[in-house]
Symmetry: D2
């Protein structure tokens, strides 16, 4: 299923590397030795989780259905216009952000407001007839989860080194 | 929007009263003076919340799209079969259950396992070609939120009576 | 209980107005007619919620116990140093942020990273022997919830005006 | 840290096996080949997660502080009496239940209502001067997370077998 999810993301203009770049920017202040390669591995691992795959399949389906006019009103207009009080896209993405614990959710909130890198680009595509209401939050959720994973990994590395130094 | 959401629920076989009955059964052990009428008012209030309305619109749309063959694979089969590890329906419903605080979420978990009353009926309809994957959880979420609301109300009533008795 | 919670916050250096200022800054971009007075009322309403009061009582108790050396190790050091992977403070605060729906949680994530206004000040106090590990997140949670409440209110105002204009 | 957390649980009357039994009862209906040994391994893995360890340390600290009279009023009485609207214990435990995804949270809600096995025993201890307000929910949270983990594992096993059978 992981390959299928990555293919689906690719078709919607999302590849692993720009998500990894967002995770890198989130995490590098706390871990200066971090590399983009680490972040790519982290994003791949997040995309390997069943829960994440289901959230991505569902969110992209809703974007595409809104784009193709297959949703009834008022839901069609709400999703198309990314109506500010519609929080289902954020809910779905927070379930992704949360898979390695709470710290992923705070990163998600930050990204959701700041709309950096690929997230900004997807948000702008809305003006060109594309519906990315769920997709931009999914990208933020995956980047946040990957960043949380890397934070736990770095901490485990430190604990291990301390023990070995004793 | 509230009328529209209630109409949509009606078309899918769900009315306010059986949801209120579930809320009543959840709450009456803690509050013996509770009436079904109180619970109907509670359910109506939950259905008046914008967040709840958006979750209901989205969940029912996914059920209908799965029913009508409008979703791509593998999502179509996952939703149709209410695949046990697919947790998006529960996530959506927990956002409803949670609107009056944490205690709604524990009630939701209980209802999700026990499948009482209307929830059981909706679950059985699955075998007749209907897709109620989201709908049965929505009903459990609304009943749980209404029950949480009534719990807070009862508590506020008690606090007020205690003060007046001083 | 609301008075008691406000008094407890005051003793820890937190008053309603600077929380309202954070809520104002979050919400004014979407609602230019917003006043600080609206935000003060919003914060007061959040502090009137039982769930919020319980979270504040619990979080401040943990800060004070850490400050007074009443916690066992390793928890004492973890809370005192606001250890980055300790997410219980954020969890507690997100339960506050969430009381008017998901949009409060994204604001919370943003505030948690940016540490604006009073939140920054509380965070700095840590260096002076005070433990505000829970308190800074509580402030961010209350401001986020108030901001979410004002967003819903503004939207309801708009819907009502549209109906009346017809 | 894992050893320390298990030792702390032991001192409060909680060992791994009865938690594993609860996880077994939750999961065996869906996976008849499951053994108690699988569940013990699952519980151990949950207890190895940093997020879970922090939640356990914090919850048990609050139980002990309430027991020893080290908390201020009204929090002391609220925790001692396991006041029904106090949801912080459930919040903390749901963060545990949630570490392998949403399905853990619904199991938690069920256990929280039904109070099976060890959970019932801990709940009864309250009447003997012990405060287990957080501990009973922690046990339910760990059992739910372990059960969710086993559900995902079983599913991955099935997917792998299907592929190999092709």
């Amino acid at each position: 299923m992981k390959e299928l999810v990555i293919e689906l993301l690719n078709k919607r203009g999302v590849t692993v590397e720009p998500i990894a770049e967002i995770a890198y920017d989130l995490q590098v202040p706390y871990n200066p030795e971090l590399t983009l390669e680490d972040c790519i591995i982290g994003v791949e691992e997040v995309l390997g989780k069943r829960d994440v795959q289901y959230a991505i399949l569902t969110g992209i389906a809703l974007d595409k259905l809104a784009e193709n006019g297959a949703l009834d009103e008022p839901l069609a207009s709400i999703i198309k216009s990314d109506e500010p009080l519609y929080g289902i896209d954020e809910s779905l993405a927070m379930a992704i952000a949360n898979i390695y614990g709470t710290i992923g959710v705070t990163s998600f909130g930050y990204l959701d407001k700041k709309k950096v890198g690929l997230i900004k680009k997807l948000d702008n595509d809305l003006q060109k007839g594309r519906v990315n209401t769920f997709l931009d939050d999914i990208v933020a959720g995956v980047a946040s989860a990957a960043s949380a994973k890397l934070a736990y990994q770095a901490e485990e590395g430190r604990s291990k080194n301390e023990k070995e130094a004793l």
